[in-house]
Symmetry: C2
Subunit: 471 residues, 2 copies
């Protein structure tokens, strides 16, 4: 399906947005959302709705949705819960396509019937609801930021769908410090109507999204989500953080959303079988997303023979990385003789070339350049992990440049992750790599874990395709 | 034992140091080490040794160790492996106390007999050897930096003993970006003579060290290390990263050091029984070290009833933290009625007070202040985890200040870790906390994992003391 034909296309690419509950008070959520829509550079029409103001942030305000003279694709609603049903009726009469209900005070505090009424109004008029109890949503290709988070985020091609609105807002800020560019961030809240399955279905066809990340607490219709997941995961990686791994965590999830989180193991094994990559923490999920979004994703014919080569200038870093890869199911095999020979010509005789290839603490930046080139040219190597621990002999920025040069000269044809362990210059070097879409991390373990997601995706996709092909 | 009476006291507090292989060439390791010793502000006497120079870095140089007219406590050796035995003979004649052999090319490349000869010379003359194949060592209380890493590190009370010299150098830089202050960093290299047991024995009595971290690949005399560990761990936390968790990692360790790493499980269970806290990654180890070094360490009478209270302004963050604590064996129990009542008076009626205490997304900084004070005053709470996800309603810096104010007003009498999830201001807020020795982390999972080490230490110490008391 083309994105334009998808029923959610107008949600992500609206020609007009109304903000109900828009306010002149800069502390109010209705003000912050309107300001974000304007500051992020959204180019469609914007209608503040407020019965007590003529103009808000320079725009003409309307008393009610029904007073807006033109069609409204999306209405963002930030009014007290009690007033939401009235707004929904107005939205239906105005022919709004999507109602995004920021307001809280629904099923999450036990008021389930209020939420059911909201949905029945939507069904009656034929519009869809995101929420209630959401932090909003954003979609960078449309320059659309309808959230109460910060106005600017880093653009990119990672989409994040989250049941925690706080995570949505926090990630918006974190995109800037972690240099994780996003295509979309969607807070799904109580998901009275639209849920993860609907959103994943759209993001699956969205050409601006390369990786989808879900933070999940519970699913209303698990089977439906798994069906969509299986289809999407065959063409792009879907990373899931499933909350409630422990009994106490599941209880905490229940008090957060008023729902049971379900058995973690049951969820996770079903998600995995449908192609999801499971992350246990936010850090792991975002580390993985970078590696998946910025690398070519390998399609090995025999995924069980997937080979990762580890290149390091420190033995300890190499061991930590190998341990991490192996623990995550990625075998680190001894490199074949021919490849070892190529490295042996580059390195001093005491350097190990088995895999990890130990460039030794004497390695200048040029050895990193050569070592990466050799790996990119080798038929044996499917993916590459480069580990640098700071030494006096090659600075981190020099080393990062050498890695970038090798990728430029040989082509970024294989997945690669890089760890730079050391002082403040390592942060600069990591930023340099990141700006060039080479995923860089502060420790060998994190770079290894991120690369293991790339390997796992190769297996899961292979399996999904075999299954589809065989069926 | 007092530190002054310990046989290694002079290694850490030398009155004079010679650098054999000191050089005027700023690219040479012998130059970098000499320069670091001078720049770090060491106040003892320093003697460059080089047969081809009269003065190096403004100091009078001596052709040989035996030419130095005064006693030499420590001689750092950075000459080719072939010349080390001659230097060792000179050291013996000069009456040097400790020989720190930076030079590589010994057992790690299969030249074991060269190393044995070095040790036999040391035994004959009665001096001790650190190394060979080390990156050097540093001890901030003596302003001593005899490494080829960066000249400055952040001072503090975490000691790091590592079999990977690269990790030693990398950590020196990382102290600055992670704000992890160190008392000592010691690269043990091939540990032909002095090993982890000797160093831990000293660090155990060193009053400037509150936490000891070991990066271990193999142990020559495991029993001896366990004996020392058991004694030290009864009074200060010892965190161990044991390399070679996987078969491939163990093989990589073997090519790194020329030794077998041994069964990971056997090692780890023995280490745990002797009181070690096991970390799986560098990040986890340093996260734990901060939490252990900067917090009061609880001594519960019934460690099985240890209670962690989680305070959060985001439900999702709370769940992730609870899952992490529980996975690591820390039970997150429902708070008692009386405590819940105190939080209920502070919070809106729909906020959960069970544990996690959910301050909700509406929480201003004052609620964090009150929530932390309540927890510090509560008899039920043994340790506190505070989670902040960035919102428009309370900024990260305000929130950090509120937490610091509460700790000032009630006293930092219980262990606490803080997570700040969000944009660039969260980094500033984390630095503010860190400068005040409140451990802060970028994600709920990392703050929870770090706090779990504090809880685990309480249990391990209780067990060691019971065992000692019962014996």
């Amino acid at each position: 399906m083309k994105p334009e034909e998808h029923p959610l296309h107008r949600l992500f690419n609206p020609e007009s947005i109304a903000v109900v509950g828009a306010s002149r008070n800069p502390r109010k959520i209705g003000h912050i959302i309107l300001r974000n829509i304007l500051e992020a550079g959204y180019r469609g029409r914007v209608y503040p709705v407020n019965p007590n103001a003529d103009r808000i942030l320079g725009l003409r305000a309307y008393p009610r949705l029904t007073d807006i003279p033109e069609p409204v694709d999306v209405a963002i609603v930030a009014v007290p819960a009690e007033k939401v049903l009235g707004v929904a009726e107005d939205a239906g009469r105005r022919g709004v396509g999507f109602l995004v209900v920021i307001s809280s005070g629904f099923s999450e505090v036990g008021r389930r019937e209020l939420e059911e009424k909201l949905v029945s109004i939507a069904r009656r008029y034929g519009f869809r609801v995101l929420g209630p109890n959401v932090a909003g949503y954003l979609y960078t290709p449309a320059r659309l930021n309808a959230t109460f988070g910060p106005p600017r985020v880093l653009e990119g091609n990672i989409a994040f769908v989250t049941q925690s609105g706080a995570f949505a807002i926090a990630l918006m800020g974190a995109t800037l410090i972690e240099a994780i560019g996003v295509s979309a961030i969607i807070s799904v809240g109580n998901k009275a109507d639209l849920d993860e399955a609907d959103l994943l279905d759209y993001l699956g066809v969205d050409e601006h999204t390369r990786v989808v990340l879900h933070y999940l607490e519970w699913l209303r219709d698990g089977r439906r989500f798994l069906r969509v997941l299986e289809r999407v995961a065959a063409s792009k990686p879907v990373v899931v953080i499933k909350a409630g791994r422990s009994g106490a965590g599941a209880r905490a999830a229940a008090s957060h959303t008023g729902r049971l989180a379900g058995s973690y193991r049951v969820y996770v094994s079903a998600l995995r079988q449908s192609g999801a990559l499971i992350a246990k923490s936010m850090e792991e999920a975002f580390d993985a997303a970078k590696a998946l979004a910025w690398n070519p994703l390998p399609e090995p014919e025999k995924p069980e023979e997937f080979n990762v080569l580890v290149v390091t200038n420190g033995g300890g870093a190499g061991i930590q990385a190998v341990d991490t890869l192996e623990e995550r199911g990625v075998r680190v095999r001894e490199a074949p003789e021919s490849l070892r020979g190529e490295y042996a010509r580059l390195l001093p005789p005491f350097a190990s070339t088995r895999n990890p290839v130990d460039l030794t603490g004497m390695a200048p930046a040029e050895w990193f350049y050569e070592a990466v080139r050799i790996a990119l040219r080798s038929d044996w190597v499917d993916a590459l992990l480069v580990l640098y621990t700071q030494t006096g002999l090659s600075g981190p920025v020099e080393t990062a440049k050498a890695i970038l040069d090798a990728l430029r000269d040989e082509g970024h044809s294989k997945p690669i992750t890089v760890a730079l362990l050391g002082g403040p210059e390592c942060l600069h070097a990591a930023r340099l790599l990141t700006r060039n879409r080479v995923p860089a991390y502060p420790t060998p373990e994190r770079a290894a874990a991120a690369l293991s997601f790339v390997a796992e995706y190769a297996w899961r996709r292979w399996y999904l395709r075999e299954k589809a092909g065989g069926g």
